[in-house]
Amino acid sequence: MINVYICVKQVPDSKTIETDPLTGSLIRESAGSVPNPADNDAISLLSQMQNNCPEIISAAITMGPKQARASLREALALGAMSAYHLDDPALGGSDSYITAYALSQTIMHIGKADYVICGEKSSDSDTGQVPGAIAEFLGFSCYYGIIEFIEIDAKSKSMIAVRENEGIRQTIQISSPAVLVPKSGAFPKLYSSMREKNAARKKDIIKISVSDLADSNPDSYGYNASLTKIHAMVAAAPKRSAKIIDSEYTDFIRELLCSENDESGNAIALSKAKCTDSKDLADGVFAAVHLGDTHITSELIGALQSEINASKVTVLCNEHYANDVKLIANEVIAFSSAGSSADDLLLEGVIDYIEEISPDAVLFPANVRGRWLSSKIAVRLKLGLTASCTGFIWEDNKLIQIRPAFEDRLMTAIYSTKKPALATVREEMFPEAKKADTEGKIIKKQVLAKYSEKYKIISEEAVKPAEKQFSDKVLVIGNAVSSKTDFDKLVKWAEDNEMTWGVTRPLIQGGLAPFEKQIGVSGTAVKAKLAILLGVSGSRKTMAGLRLVNTLLAINEDPDAEVFSQVDYGIIGDYKQILKG
């Protein structure tokens, strides 16, 4: 018998989410709720494991209000054998640390787990920290980035799976107990049939309260026990207002295409101003954890320098990376140890550093390893951790961490109740660190660490990252462009200017472009520095796909086109002129 538990979550439907126009806060009831999209990969993995091994006994677990039962029903319909609902008023306001604690308590209450499967992250809070923290609370290993299940051995309970993280694909043999985290979208999407739904409706859902748990103290849960608190919450969508450019616009566009300026219209930067106005200089003690990619670490330092004017940043890393970062760090603490894995060494090293120095904040990259490492440290030291930060403020000797939620529709400012604040930092958000005049001092530290991950690598290969459909600069071709000749010219113009291109829905319907090129609610959302919109009317559906573009410029003949109220630059005129420039 192999016990496999799957943690699922019912999340507000981010497509329909609304914010209060005055306060910017989320109108939670407005959203309706759906099973967390990433949980589908978890259920899909469970279903493959069950098909491979009849010895598996599975249960789905959720924590949340009554509508969370819908997620359990869905898990039951798709193969989970039983369902547990942790529902207690004491849980309200739990952050990811407390959520992981409550779920791990529930898992221990239900029975001995061999595997726990979690979706990569929830679409509402978007932290990706819960799986790692559950593993730490349970004392399990945690495997992120699983893209394929191969087999499970009923006798030894060990399994073989493929994982892919940061460009390395490994086939590994995993020993139980472990937390398994499939990569979002890696597993086939499962749909429950109406029959399965109806059968699931008839099954019992077992209700669990805090009083049932080993730690039955209500004060251990909920908002009061949480180590991070919300300072403010605002809608991320900035109001844009178009600056109208003269009809002789080709020079202006040329300039825009060449400039690297990404100030104007930056959704995330603008919202930060709304959270607070503080501009104190930060003279605290800050550290950044270096995992091997100097560019990423440079951004961590750059974040502290550009956002809060940090005077000194220490980089923590494994000994053999020390020379890579000494040019950007004021100080490098390099860990070494005999016979431990790189990750374990870093884990113990950072913990030693925090205990010895008690810094104000420690930053990690918001990638798989960064999330894994930070959530382990948070649990071990009982520290607050904020995920995927896109901004920082130094206020009253406290680091306020700004992060998007709900697929970037909301910005939240968060602070930790204890020092140091731990935060993972989203990539490509901050400038690189300033080059120091002198090399940072390297301090070597011996660390006592041992292997904690119980896996064997069967094979390993490097994989190329997938190419992005839309680059930094995007040409959006709208309905006003209806002739094939013009369309082809525009596509060529885009390619000549090193831009990628997309279209609005009518052009797909007109057969001018394939479905993959559609931008908008039912197409792709674009993250780019610049988008030029030609003959785009500016419907809500199209503009929703362009929300995260820093600078939007629209060219349209109709001065009353809706698009002009939603872009940074407007040109009233004929789009064809762009081809002459």
Binding site: K15, T16, E29, G32, V34, K66, R69, M194, S482, V521
Partner: protein, 472 residues
């Protein structure tokens, strides 16, 4: 002949009114027939018309129709393209699409007579905005609000989400002008009511271009309502909910919105306001405050203890998201899901059976079905409609034709059960080409009458062939 026809149309209407570019023909070759959203991802390609004609006024429209008829080519009238039954879908490469989008002038609004005239190509959202600015409403809010045009709404016998108070388009249309298959123009005066033989408006209402094209309409407007009351109620199940609505409608009141959503439709949007497995009733009353208060009191008295209040929030959620479906459907197509909506109606004594039998049979017989839910959204003294929402996952080895068969299997069950239980095969989407198959079971001997009308007006079967009546 082809190029001859095109040059005749061009010389009669002007070069720029006759579009032959592939992109223009592709855009006007289809409507929103649900299965196409999926088939497009499976390599299905539309049949393109010979050309698209865009007349600018009734006279040009009449001239275009006459020329097509002389050349004996099929005509497909095209409005907003939001139909979901293939009424505007081209299935003949010789066909000429007549798009009325340039007939877009709005006439004067009469406060005294409470009506407004608009040409067929006026978008309903533009007309609504126009009358709103002057302090009125149209009272017609179909889910296709963003796409639909006035002519198309009349031609498909449309209904709006507030119909229980304001009525369907047939109650709102006072008079109109239309073009007959021989190019003649007919005007039907706008009057409050008349007793002058059979009502000729009904040749065009729901005619879907089968014997004529709507050119201009005069519709009612209403003063903006001053008060609103909203309330949701939880009920044990669909049957119980239908019973509550029946009792409310019996009182003779006309709340603008009376809806009942079954458990599956409630789970996502309203889960926070109810218990699992329950159904939800939504009421919205609007108008003068005394009238609204009276309706509220009657509803509260009739509902009594049969249902439990769930507050007004669910109604707000419905109002905010009532037109989101269109986007979702497109997304489903990309995921390989077949999604469709099928609306039927029935008397109070039949409607519960239609709902339950349909759901049971579809579950039993079509294993690809992932969801089948239903809501009642337009209620009357004598009965209501059920709007089924259905999703199915075709197996990966299915071809585009197989998917069409699967789609048809689901449709057959729903229409069969509806007719067997005394219901009507279509409540407000119309017939188009997809549903024509079921017209015999719907009309019985009446089908002969419809065919006779068709032949009398359109002996060569050139007007939107295959729509309403199969071309045999």
């Amino acid at each position: 002949m082809e190029s001859n026809l095109i040059s005749r149309l061009k010389s009669a209407l002007g070069e720029d009114r006759v579009l032959t570019e592939q992109e223009q023909r592709t855009k006007r070759a289809t409507d929103l027939l649900a299965i196409r959203l999926l088939q497009r991802h499976m390599g299905w390609k539309p049949t393109l018309p010979l050309c698209v004609v865009e007349p600018e006024n009734t006279e040009e429209l009449a001239r275009a129709v006459a020329i097509c008829r002389e050349n004996k080519v099929p005509i497909i009238p095209y409005g907003g393209g939001s139909g979901v039954l293939g009424g505007a879908e081209c299935r003949d490469t010789n066909a000429v699409v007549i798009d009325v989008k340039r007939l877009n002038k709005i006439g004067e609004l009469s406060d005294e007579d409470l009506c407004i005239t608009a040409e067929a190509g006026v978008m309903i959202k533009d007309l609504e905005a126009y009358v709103n600015e002057k302090g009125y409403i149209l009272g017609h809010y179909p889910q296709s609000m963003d796409l639909a045009q006035m002519g198309g709404l009349v031609a498909t016998r449309s209904i709006g989400q507030f119909s229980t108070q304001y009525g369907g388009i047939e109650d709102l249309l006072l008079g109109m002008e239309g073009v007959l298959p021989n190019g003649e123009v007919v005007e039907i005066k706008a009057n409050p009511r008349k007793s002058a033989g059979p009502d000729l408006r009904h040749i065009f209402l729901g005619g879907e271009g089968f014997v004529g094209i709507v050119a201009r309409v005069t519709v009612k407007v209403f003063p903006k309502p001053e008060a609103t009351w909203k309330q949701a109620y939880r009920v044990e199940g669909t049957r119980e909910g239908l019973e509550v609505i029946r009792k409310v409608m019996r009182e003779g009141i006309k709340p603008a919105v009376v809806r009942l959503h079954d458990w599956l439709e409630c789970e996502k949007p309203y889960g926070a306001f109810m218990e699992e497995d329950e159904s939800l009733i939504l009421f919205l009353c609007e108008g003068a405050k005394e009238k609204v208060r009276a309706e509220q009191e009657i509803i509260e008295r009739v509902v009594g203890t049969d249902a439990i209040s769930a507050g007004e929030k669910p109604v707000d959620i419905w109002l905010a998201h009532r037109n989101d479906a269109a986007d979702e459907y497109e997304e489903y197509g990309k995921q390989g899901l077949l999604v469709d909506t099928i609306e039927i109606s029935g008397n109070w004594s039949d409607i519960g059976n239609i709902y339950e039998n349909t759901i049971d049979r579809v579950y039993d017989e079509v294993h690809e079905v992932l969801f089948l839910s239903g809501h009642s959204s337009h209620s009357y003294l004598n009965g209501t409609n059920i709007y089924f929402q259905i999703g199915a996952m075709p197996s990966p080895d299915m071809s585009s034709d197989d998917v069409e068969k699967l789609h048809r299997r689901i449709w057959d069950i729903i229409e069969e059960e509806t007719v067997k239980n005394g219901g009507a095969i279509a409540h407000h989407h119309g017939i188009g080409k997809h549903r024509a198959k079921y017209m015999e079971s719907e009309l019985g001997s009446g089908l002969k009458m419809l065919k006779t009308i068709k032949k009398a007006f359109d002996p060569d079967f050139l007007m939107n062939p295959g729509t309403l009546i199969n071309c045999d």
